[in-house]
Amino acid sequence: MSDARAVADRLIKAKRLNALLTPAKDLRKSLLAQAEAARTTGVLYGMPVAVKDNICTLEFTTTCGSKILEGYQSPYEATAITKLKAAGALIAGKTNCDEFAMGSSTEHSAYGRVIHPLDKARVPGGSSGGSAALVAAGAVPAALGSDTGGSVRQPAAFCGVVGMKPTYGRVSRYGLVAFGSSLDQIGVLGRSVHDAARVLSVISGRDARDSTCEDRDPLRLPTVPESLQGFVIGLPKEYFPAELDPAVKRACDRAIRMMKELGAAVREVSLPHTPYAVPTYYVIAPAEASSNLARYDGVRYGPRFDGHQDLHALYRTTRGQGFGPEVRRRILVGTYVLSAGYYDAYYRRAQQMRALIAQDFRNAFDRGVDLLFTPTVPAPAFKAGEKLSDPIAMYMSDIFTVTANLAGLPAMSLPIGRVKGLPIGGQLIGQAFLEDEMIEAAYALERVVPATDEA
């Protein structure tokens, strides 16, 4: 099959982005073998899908962008991968990401930063930056990412592609290396709404191996609507603050106008607990991460670093040298907020705040709103190195995306314009398990919005 060769060539041509972790030789060999074996009747027959390196595959190593899993070959594959292969898709290599998906710029990878396809000085966003960059560069039509606080939508916005995060429990997490278990979902980056949606549809649905995956049929794709007649779009005022980047504001206003022209009713709503979302997230996610990452101890898999003389030395050097600075920082913060005497002040409080944030969304939807529209990120892609020394500034990049993870809701980003050549993303947040409505609106908006025009 010559297609597999072309796929490999396209991926290898994008090498300068450092978006792909799979060596060219392995990639070619595997793609040819996969193309031979692919199910010709599958709905994704022959479609190459790149996969973020924190999703276990049998085809390639799974390192999570970390030294602590350097060379790690998983002896099993994620349910999402099994479903993709059953649909005839080709696993088109593993994509670079922030280490264990912790980051918003893909600068926190042990294997080097990913370059923004449109401006090499800038970051592609993160943590699924490799997946976003490959799709944006046209190397693959779609790629899997994971979204814990915006890690699919934020890089999609930065790179000018579509990024979808499904409802928590829509896609099995079996084989997705856990970061924040109650927040993580596998998501899809695609060059169009349709490419992302068809991949999402294939990987969605029940899985007996994940207790948090809902017992539901796979997502059914809506048809492309003629209009948005009957849709009520809510604009949460907390997502349009005075200090919002003016170009981002202009792009959003233009998209809102177009949705109105398509027949949607638009109304302002309030999600009053939004200001607490980032602090809530930065308690819950590190707490869960500190526990999820305890298994990387050099005992059963992964390399051992120095310190073989006693067990504690083995643990401490393996973990101390195997994890990069951002992961270490989050493990320490997460350990701290769970430790004796601090649990109530931090973790319990964050869980309560999470309930209030989820309630905000329910209140809005109860008042007749079908979907929410917001900017995906407050500003376009920033320069590499710009936020590395200030973790909180980096965290603020997630301010509009973490809420959907905290509330477990489906959300997506789609390109709605550019500023000085850099893409801007608009976010749709839907109701739980109503991805179809969200995708329907995105189809309509995608057809009319000048995604590559200056806002």
Partner: protein, 97 residues
Amino acid sequence: MSVSRDEVLRIAQLAELDVDDDALPEIAEQMSRILDYVAQLSAIPTNGTVKTFVPGPDAMRFRPDEVAPSPLMFGPAQFAPAFKEGFFVVPKLGQFE
């Protein structure tokens, strides 16, 4: 509120993470900033009755009691950093430790 060097060391010990002495002040400073930042949560009045929220199913499903291990394409001998006679091997750990 600020995290002291000793506190960082205590937490690092709990997390089994080596922290360089040189890096300690910076880590303490960054942890303090992050913890100060998230501490705004404790300033909000939430009475004890506020429920917590976790997404996902309301109740767990039960698996039938059948011997049906999830597939493993190859065994521990092929991924373990130290494996001997069927066992994972780690540096000695006293029985009474």
